[in-house]
């Protein structure tokens, strides 16, 4: 046995976490690179998961901690990929560690600095619905548990440094370049949400009581901006009627992306159930085009929502949403089964389910690594059926949503697949 082979995993969401744990578990050295200050990814932002209704962070946090504690995993959070050279078995990688202005070793994450920081900015983790300080931790379960100063908003008053008992604040910190040598690379960059402002008729960002699904996940989450209370964003009134709209910018030729995001029918059903669990009397409507409940146990989950929780599924694409002076909403829609134009009035909250799209940053990443993207911006694979995790470059693999739309279990299984292919290729290269 020579030196321990190593793998770079790009993206610290559930797919990247699973790939890292699989490889580290069998003895590979893993570098897990994440551009934001914490690992956890999108799954960390979700309130619950379908169809089991597990609390998302509760099942994810132990895995995040396992990554942190694992002797074979080195977390590179708040880092950027700069350069990749070489071939399978011998990639030379340059990584830029962005300055946190806080010493990761000294910081205990106590948060006293944030209490004193005078600058308040929207918290990205809460989809900008809540606020954080200029020195912050994105979420309570952040890994690593370390504060970060966002330089854009910091006014350099120095209060944080003054109150930090650990002496961890270091405003002089500089960007740091690291050189790594790895045998294989796994890409797991996840997704972004389509911005539905383009669809003017739905009034997103114009009407306060229109949210996107990811915003709603934070809104209804106990650790979210309003402590998980089911209220209207505009005025705090307890809603009586909530509607979900599917395929906002997906499956469309006019707006957004032509593909189906694969998860929206199910998470809308889940969010409907969460609402019913908070307040059984709230009427919940889901406007859909085709109800896609194709995964294991999904149709049964929808049946439960329909029959036990009386969630109303309406087949039809809403044409327009109007706001009345009391900030309640009216949805005008085409009921495709009755072929009538109808309206649903007195809606307190509309949740848009936007297309989930490949990340903008994929382009840069693809250029650096030399792999190809498809026409939508997903990473291209060698063969969609028989080489679903091999990219166009040997030794570089891909898994999770950035390969194609998929839910958490499919991402987890595929993350293990990418780990297997990386291990297989390294076994052959090193022989």
């Amino acid at each position: 046995m020579g030196e321990k082979a190593s793998v770079l995993v790009i993206g610290g969401g559930i797919a990247g976490i699973q790939a890292s744990l699989d490889l580290a578990g069998r003895g590979f050295q893993v570098y897990l690179l994440e551009e934001s200050p914490t690992i956890g990814g999108r799954m960390a932002q979700l309130d619950k998961t379908f169809p089991t209704m597990d609390c998302s962070i509760c099942i994810l946090a132990p895995k995040m901690m396992e990554c942190y504690r694992h002797p074979n995993i080195k977390l590179l959070t708040y880092c950027e990929l700069k350069e990749v050279k070489g071939i399978v078995g011998d990639f030379n990688v340059k990584v830029l560690q962005k300055p946190r202005y806080v010493d990761e070793v000294k910081c205990t994450g106590c948060g006293v600095c944030a209490e004193h920081c005078p600058i308040e900015v929207p918290n990205e983790f809460d989809m900008a619905l809540g606020i954080r300080k200029a020195i912050y931790m994105p979420m309570p379960q952040a890994v690593p548990r370390c504060m970060t100063i966002d330089k854009e908003n910091c006014i350099k008053c120095g209060l944080c440094a003054k109150v930090c008992r650990a002496g961890a604040v270091d405003l002089q910190q500089q960007p740091k370049e690291m050189d790594l040598n790895v045998g294989a690379i796994i890409i797991a960059t996840g997704f972004d949400q389509y911005d539905p402002r383009e669809i003017v008729e739905y009034g997103y960002k114009r009407y306060e009581n229109v949210l996107t699904a990811l915003e709603f996940e934070r809104w209804i989450c106990a650790s979210g901006p309003v402590g998980g209370h089911l209220i209207r964003p505009a005025d705090g009134i307890i809603p009586k009627r909530i509607a979900f709209i599917q395929c906002v910018g997906s499956r469309g030729l006019k707006f957004g992306s032509p593909f189906c995001s694969s998860v929206c029918c199910m998470y809308a059903t889940k969010e409907a159930l969460i609402i019913k669990m908070h307040a059984p009397d709230v009427q919940v409507y889901i406007f859909y085009n085709e109800l896609r409940a194709f995964g294991k146990g999904f149709q049964e989950f929808v049946n439960r929502a329909r029959n036990e929780y009386e969630v109303k599924y309406i087949r039809g694409r809403p044409g327009e949403i109007k706001e009345d002076p009391k900030k309640s909403l009216t949805i005008w829609y085409d009921d495709t089964f009755t072929r009538e134009i109808k309206s649903l009035t007195d809606v307190d909250l509309v949740v848009l389910c936007p297309a989930l799209i490949p990340r903008e940053g994929n382009k840069r990443l693809a250029e650096i690594i030399g792999v190809e993207l498809d026409e939508y911006g997903f990473f291209k694979v060698k063969h969609p059926l028989f080489a679903p995790v091999d990219t166009t470059i040997p030794g570089v693999f891909v898994c999770g949503y950035c390969q194609s739309p998929k839910d958490i279990p499919d991402s987890v299984a595929q993350a293990s697949a990418a780990a297997a292919r990386a291990a297989e290729m390294l076994a052959q290269v090193r022989r």
């Binding site: 946090a61 896609r292 294991k296 049964e300 049946n303 063969h383 679903p388 987890v412 697949a417």
Partner: protein, 574 residues
């Protein structure tokens, strides 16, 4: 075990879990209360005990207060016990000197409307945990060697993919297939969607690669007869053409696939020759256009009906079979290509053309002239025979609101993939569960989709649930990682919590041997029960059934449980 008993020094850590607990239970009050309990020398509260800070705090307190027992009052041991045990171990404490009091699922979440009572109950739970932890004993996890050999059950695309990937990583693989040839379901299929490749060609390449690999032993016409043992050390008996082959195996992969549902009695299936399932159609398509012409003379109109026998109100076939919409599109386009003048209809409820490519696939089909007719569950289409031998499909088009009568030459029913009937036997042999739909049931739907709860056994492909080739291959590669982990590590730690027989009390009646679901108890040469520790899962069934009370459970001794009961009764009595 004759360690001198040191006096317990218990540390209690009460978690707010953000507001999950702290929003309803008065955590500071619980902490103050914990300090008054016997043996407790330290108690503190944490916003999140599971955070890096919380873990660091536990480790520090163990050192600072010389703790020899730890109680965390937070959430469920199912997700968090390994983490907290790990923290104890990191600080030099035997991880079994730890106890979780679940004051979230068992308390704050179910008593949200009664915060005062919830706080009292949290105190009760902490008192019980402290009483128990004080009596806990250190345990050691025995180490197991892992045989670096995998058994893959099922020689379809999933099984072959797993076998090749594991073999490519350097492990020895036995691939067992009950049919005389490898290939599985894809042998029946003509072309694959969305790429349009011929399945037989692809399968041929796979079979050649598998047969030619020096690390793979292929056993066809072979069935699994018996499985004994445990992760790393399974003893598997394979029956091949009347001969028993004994294999020593480290990990097992279930890739047994699924079959299509035969919809006897539905839409004239079984009554009319011109009503086929999609797989039956594929088998004819494999013979080319001439095979179709021979059987149906010429296809002028074909109607495909979706969701036949799937998405039913009740299990076992309440599920959507995931692949049928694409299969129908694919076969519809082949027919349209061969018979450009024909009409091909797909009668559907919801087109499940999910993901990156299938929406586009659906669009291409519409452009090619395939007609899609929507029906609702409440008014399914009807199929009847015409006097000239052709068929008539009557369907209410739910989107247009009109009744359509379609004379046609062929009706193709899209039926779901269903589990093999004998999956039940294999599940019993392997001691892994099936779900209510009859497919193999994984350890956790969300985060352990291809593991079983039983260590060392994994599942992939359509044995798990209906899925297409790309998804099956993804899972098959996935299990090639999961199964490789213990085999690469070579040594594992087993369960420490097992049953123990008090030899002086055992009468040798054999009740425990009969009742043990894991086959982990045998009689020794004296006729006394003996537990094979690495096979024991610590379920306690034997202990509960032993008439002589000769069996106790490590970590769950009577005195430890009775102490808990006394602790809870203390308040009731007062």
């Amino acid at each position: 075990m004759a360690q001198q008993k040191e006096k317990p020094r218990v540390g209690v850590f009460v978690c707010h879990c953000g507001i999950n607990i702290g929003g309803f239970v008065n955590v500071p009050q619980v902490v103050r209360y914990a300090r008054t309990l016997p043996n407790v020398v330290h108690a503190e509260e944490n916003i999140y005990t599971c955070s890096a800070e919380g873990i660091a705090s536990i480790k520090e307190a163990i050192k600072e207060h010389d703790l020899n027992r730890v109680v965390v009052a937070s959430c469920t041991p199912r997700t968090h016990e390994p983490l907290f045990r790990g923290a104890c171990a990191d600080a030099g404490l035997n991880p079994y000197l730890f106890e979780l009091a679940n004051i979230r699922e068992h308390c704050s979440w179910v008593h949200m409307r009664e915060p005062d009572k919830a706080t009292e109950k949290a105190k009760d739970l902490v008192r019980m945990a402290v009483a128990r932890v004080s009596l806990l004993e250190p345990q050691e996890e025995p180490e197991i060697d892992v045989m670096p050999t995998a058994l893959v059950i099922g020689g379809g695309i999933s099984g072959m993919t797993s076998a090749l990937c594991l073999a490519g990583q350097g492990f020895k693989v036995y691939l067992v297939e009950r049919k005389p040839e490898l290939g599985g379901m894809l042998k029946k299929i003509y072309r694959l969607y969305p790429t349009g490749e011929e399945a037989s060609r692809v399968i041929g390449d796979y079979v050649n690669a598998v047969m030619g690999h020096k690390n793979i032993v292929v056993l066809t016409s072979a069935n699994i007869k018996d499985v004994k043992g445990y992760i790393g050390n399974f003893e598997v008996t394979v029956l091949k053409e009347g001969e028993e082959i004994k294999l020593k195996i480290g990990t097992i992969i279930v890739a047994t696939g699924a079959i299509e549902f035969k919809p006897v009695g539905l839409y004239g299936y079984g009554r009319y020759d011109r009503v086929l399932t999609q797989v039956e159609l594929e088998e004819i398509l494999k013979g080319g256009k001439s095979a179709i012409d021979k059987r149906f003379f010429k296809l002028q109109r074909v109607v495909m009906i979706q969701c036949v026998g799937s998405r039913e109100e009740r299990p076992p076939r309440a599920y959507c079979s995931r692949i049928c919409c694409m299969v129908a599109i694919k076969n519809a386009m082949i027919i349209k290509e061969w018979y450009p003048d024909s009409d091909v209809y797909v009668v559907y409820q919801d087109m499940q053309t999910y993901g990156k490519e299938y929406e586009e696939y659906h669009r291409r089909a519409r452009e090619a002239g395939i007609r899609f007719v929507s029906y609702t569950k409440g008014s399914p289409p009807e199929v009847t025979a015409l006097p000239n031998g052709r068929l008539k499909v009557v369907v209410y088009h739910a989107l247009l609101g009109i009744r359509r009568e379609l004379d046609c030459d062929l009706v193709v029913l899209s039926t779901p993939l269903i589990p093999y009937e004998d999956a039940k036997e294999l599940s019993k042999m392997l001691k892994v569960p099936l779900g209510q739909d009859g497919f193999f049931f994984e350890a956790h739907v969300k985060l352990r989709p291809i593991d079983f709860a039983t260590d060392g056994i994994y599942v992939c492909g359509t044995a798990h649930s209906p899925k297409d080739v790309g998804e099956s291959v993804s899972q098959a590669l996935g299990v090639a990682s999961r199964a490789a982990i213990p085999m690469a590590v070579k040594r594992l730690r087993a369960e420490a919590i097992t049953s123990v027989v008090d030899e002086s009390l055992c009468s040798g009646c054999g009740t425990c041997i009969r009742i043990c679901p894991y086959g982990a108890i045998q009689k020794d040469e004296r006729g006394i029960a003996k537990v094979i520790e690495v096979m024991c899962k610590g379920c306690g069934t034997c202990g509960a059934s032993c008439p002589e009370r000769a069996i106790s459970m490590r970590h769950f001794k009577d005195e430890q449980i009775i102490a808990q009961i006394h602790a809870i009764l203390r308040r009731v009595a007062a």
